[in-house]
Symmetry: C2
Subunit: 359 residues, 2 copies
DNA sequence: TTGTAGGCGTTATCAA
DNA sequence: TTGATAACGCCTACAA
């Protein structure tokens, strides 16, 4: 097993940065006092504190993280693990939101975010090694697919970890944040049945992703509550093209459908293509719903009714929860679930609209 | 000045990980031999190497980065600096591409990517401190706005740095990668004039971003080459809504325009809105071009002719260039410019098409 | 080829 | 409140 750096990095020779020793000298105190002054100023006289503060700005002193980390066993950095083999999925604004939210949570901290993308199994092994190596104080995992066993792997390391999105393997009482996908799916069923549609179908997401499964579960529950039959279910891969193909089959087999719930806005776009290709209109013939309140939902030729969820808040929460768990190890915070909300647009307006002529 | 961590992170107490000492003991060699065996195996006998290798797997040994970094002065990590105050801009797939590309370049390396997003001036100061602190071996800066002075700041630190996108301040002979925005703008002018459009206008990007400025420069040059007048120029902020507003003004003032070049696909969408709101058609009345070959260009109600650029390659290149510069300090690689290519779609088809009836 | 010894910059312990 | 002093885990001359 090769534990050496595949490539080494040499450092550009520059003027060496001042050390704590230099700082203490300049401030006229001992290293210990300087150290204390720098770290919160516990048990240091105002005079000494002032002298050190002055020296810090004078010298442009910046503590050496490696040295500090070596003795404190803290790295002041956390990892964001993205076990996403597919580059296209990475394009999903979701990740931008997650990164932004976590960064926001870290803002008042000196904690840095290191990005761990593992696309291959090989990557995963390296990522896990990195995580176990104590190189970060905690991790946030964007959990998606059934296959990845990050939950168990990380539970075993004891590293403080927060999952964004309910992980598959719940046997390790992992801490996570999520949106109420079940509730969102139910909202969709309630809305479509509420506007009088009766022959409903859904284009669900991949069966190996919790978000997709939960939305489907909520959808079915909502239909049952409304006294409607389950109706046809087809699965697609959260992409526009995939959904278009799935919807074509769906429409061919069930030409009388009058309402479709697509489990994502991107998929709804594909479904809309298929509907129009079949010579039907939205919402005239078929009311269509998406999910996510993605930017495209608003700009679509027929703006999409969709489900919105507080993604940024969720990501911020994940960040702050991780910080808490790092500071208070052993505290196992409860999972946090954010509720979803319906956003009505033209694609489910009760009466057929002018835009239906688009078809 | 407070150089202390605003919040501290304590570590969960776990079984201490094996040290080099433990490894050496288990392998029956000295620390130095173990160290050498781990780092490339220079001057170590096959027997010793084998013993160490065995011990590594047996103990699950992982080198302590902090300790290693302390003595080697290398951190095996690089920073991606995103000086982007606007969250919405972060949603641009551009960043996903950049991150993916850099990660790809780092794949065979043990170098980690740390993300430095600085939205406020305060953030910038902290980011800069982090960079100067020697906490990373190099940095990649996504350079966008005129205001940020990262080029100078980083040049002063001597930290190996690569810019993605030509920086504004070129007085410090910074190394960068970019796409040929001038060439792309020229392509647009050539194409629109080539299909017979004569009264051309452009919705340019923000005047404080090099990409926007360069595209505009190329556009003007292309018009000149084609013997056409410069035509009207309006600026927008690379968003759909902003472009829609700008285009409304443009169309009101110049009702006879028959071709528009929007400096991004997202902006082209807004322009299309404005055109249709004005009761005109694309491409019947006005041929419309975008830029970026963004996913929306293909899915737009009238698919957009646009300019494509090898963004992933560019990002990968940035990563590998940085690694090179880190390994060979002082080598100042030449900037690399990737060429762009036209992608023809319906929005500039010569003859008016059925979709023109969309209006 | 191997091992010994010293030091990287910081924090933590403990006596003053 | 202060300041020696000893780690922290690793690499690297240097000597063997």
């Amino acid at each position: 097993m090769n534990t050496s750096p595949p490539r080494s990095l040499r450092h550009a020779a520059g003027r060496p940065s001042p050390t704590l020793e230099d700082l203490a000298l300049a401030a006229g105190v001992s290293r210990s006092t300087a150290s204390r002054a720098i770290n919160g100023g516990d048990r240091v006289s105002p005079a000494a504190q002032a002298a050190v503060d002055r020296a810090v700005v004078a010298l442009g002193y910046i503590p050496n993280r490696a040295a500090r980390s070596l003795v404190t066993r803290r790295t002041s950095s956390i990892a964001l693990v993205i076990p996403e083999p597919d580059v296209r999925v990475m394009m999903d604004p979701f990740f931008a939101v997650v990164i932004t939210g976590i960064t926001e949570a870290l803002r008042e901290t000196d904690v840095q975010l290191v990005l761990l993308m593992s696309r291959t199994d090989d990557d995963s092994a390296r990522t896990l090694r990195y995580l176990r190596g104590g190189h970060v104080d905690g991790a946030i995992v964007v959990s998606h697919h059934e296959a990845d066993s990050w939950a168990r792997s990380l539970a075993e390391t004891g590293l403080p970890t927060i999952f964004i999105g309910r992980p598959w393997d719940m046997t390790f009482d992992v801490t996570y944040v999520d949106t109420d996908n079940v509730g969102g799916g139910k909202l969709a069923a309630q809305h479509l049945s509420g506007i009088g549609r009766r022959r409903l179908a859904t284009v669900a997401g991949p069966a190996d992703m919790t978000a997709a499964v939960d939305r489907l579960r909520g959808w079915k529950a909502g239909l049952a509550e409304a006294g409607l039959p389950e109706g046809p279910v087809v699965h697609a891969d959260f992409t526009t093209d995939g959904a278009a193909a799935a919807a074509r089959l769906l429409l061919a087999e069930h030409p009388d459908i009058d309402g479709i719930f697509a489990a994502s806005d991107l998929m709804a776009l594909g479904v809309m293509e298929a509907i129009q290709a079949a010579g039907k209109t939205v919402p005239g013939d078929i009311a269509l719903m998406g999910y996510d309140n993605h930017a495209v939902a608003e700009t679509a030729s027929t703006p999409l009714t969709t489900i919105t969820q507080p993604m940024v808040e969720m990501a911020v929460k994940a960040g702050s929860m991780l910080l808490e768990e790092i500071e208070a190890p052993g505290s196992h915070p409860e999972p946090v679930i954010y509720s979803t909300r319906l956003v009505e647009r033209e694609s489910t307006s009760v009466a057929p609209t002018a835009s239906a002529a688009n078809a």
